[in-house]
Point group: C2
Chain length 267, copies 2
Amino acid sequence: MAMNPAPPNSTNNANASSGTLRAMPSVPGSPTFSPLYRQIKALITKSLQSGEWKPGELIPSEVELANRFKVSQGTVRKAIDELAAENLVMRRQGKGTFVATHQEARAHFRFLRLVPDEGVPHYPASKFIEVKRVRAPADVARLLDLKSGDAVIFIKRVQSFDGVPTIVEELWLPGLIFKGLTAERMVEYKGPMYGLFESEFATHMIRASEKLRAVVADADAAELLQVAPGTPLLSAERVSLTYGDKAVELRRGLYLTAQHHYENELN
Amino acid sequence: MAMNPAPPNSTNNANASSGTLRAMPSVPGSPTFSPLYRQIKALITKSLQSGEWKPGELIPSEVELANRFKVSQGTVRKAIDELAAENLVMRRQGKGTFVATHQEARAHFRFLRLVPDEGVPHYPASKFIEVKRVRAPADVARLLDLKSGDAVIFIKRVQSFDGVPTIVEELWLPGLIFKGLTAERMVEYKGPMYGLFESEFATHMIRASEKLRAVVADADAAELLQVAPGTPLLSAERVSLTYGDKAVELRRGLYLTAQHHYENELN
DNA sequence: AAGTGGTCTAGACCACTTT
DNA sequence: AAGTGGTCTAGACCACTTC
């Protein structure tokens, strides 16, 4: 059995028809080539980036996308598989595929790796020390892909677990993107700042990279954390990226690691 | 076109034949069920664990494994996809699939996240301070899944980059597994310790989890790192696991982060 | 030319959710 | 019952490596 009822399709079949996709390797060994499912993935990513489907929303079903792009369901599936692995979307059997969002409790601990030595992680309370518009210093500008002197929003706050001040952090945000962000709005907003960024500034962080160091508390940090100057603190500098790997946040935190530690899995 | 030439197979087809696989959900909502490709994955992992295919070696081709397990190539492929994602194997188009190994330069930086602030990462030189067999203290025993008092090997060493002492670390290894590990052998062995563990003790680390803290140098660490007591140091406690998620190494390191930092990607 | 992994398709059926 | 993602199969062809 299993004869060959005329090749149901050959090579890059339904190809020439609708035109756009399937960038065949124009010249053997050419630079521009990527498999179909990556092209589909790029198209879906573009729709995410453009806001066609917003965080928390359902995206079209695999069958629907397959029809739209004129490819098989399996190819769409592979594209979405990768997006799910990168946490850009979330699949739910029987329901559909949802755009990732920072509005859920789950998401809170994706970027916050500081956990208590004992007990379960919970979200800290924030106290804002300072919020102002300033011109970007050279180092901040470089990390955020801005020009030195461009407008940025500067935020300084202290976060406490169970009333114990544990984190003092400074945030730098591109003024152009976060225009209109006020201290009042942040104080009134409950939950992680990434939720606010997403719902009010259409900016969804997809990835971040951190550099960790050990430092000692200076007078300012010591006072804010209510510890002696010279107390060792874990310094974390985080650059967060949105779609297209565009840097949109610089965060510099000092963590008191007396009752907490930074947890990391190496795979 | 594309008619239906009698279902080439139905449901869990070639099933009843060879027997073993395809644990159907005996009772709807039963606890024991996993898709075929995960069962295949488990079988392959068992062969890796048993040493049937050793680190660096080629495993059988997808077609061959499909024949062996009486499943389609696609199912084997999905199993191997997951193993590759977990870094247990490495695929190379045209050549085959290889068992992951710590013998390659690439592998050196998988677990060593400390990188220089400037310039490219390179591997440090080791100086061994102490190597001895001891009885496991309670905390070490707990982390290594041993009994308090069980034999363990204790190693203390300092690692330098370009002659600058940067890491002082203590390793605790189960005596049963690493029987015969001597200071001489370690000194004479070039390259990362995980390479030695793999080639001489048939122990391949597949994953690790680290807890990071900021501490200050005590007199001992200060002397070894040639810094003043009170200098802030990044403390990293790492538990490394081998196949079956069995803990086989406890490593406690103190990192001088003056010229280096710990780099972490958050996805 | 032969073998290996990589891509793509088509179709069937399963598990879960909603109507 | 209908729709969605999840699994499994079979087969074709491509890209890369080795003989």
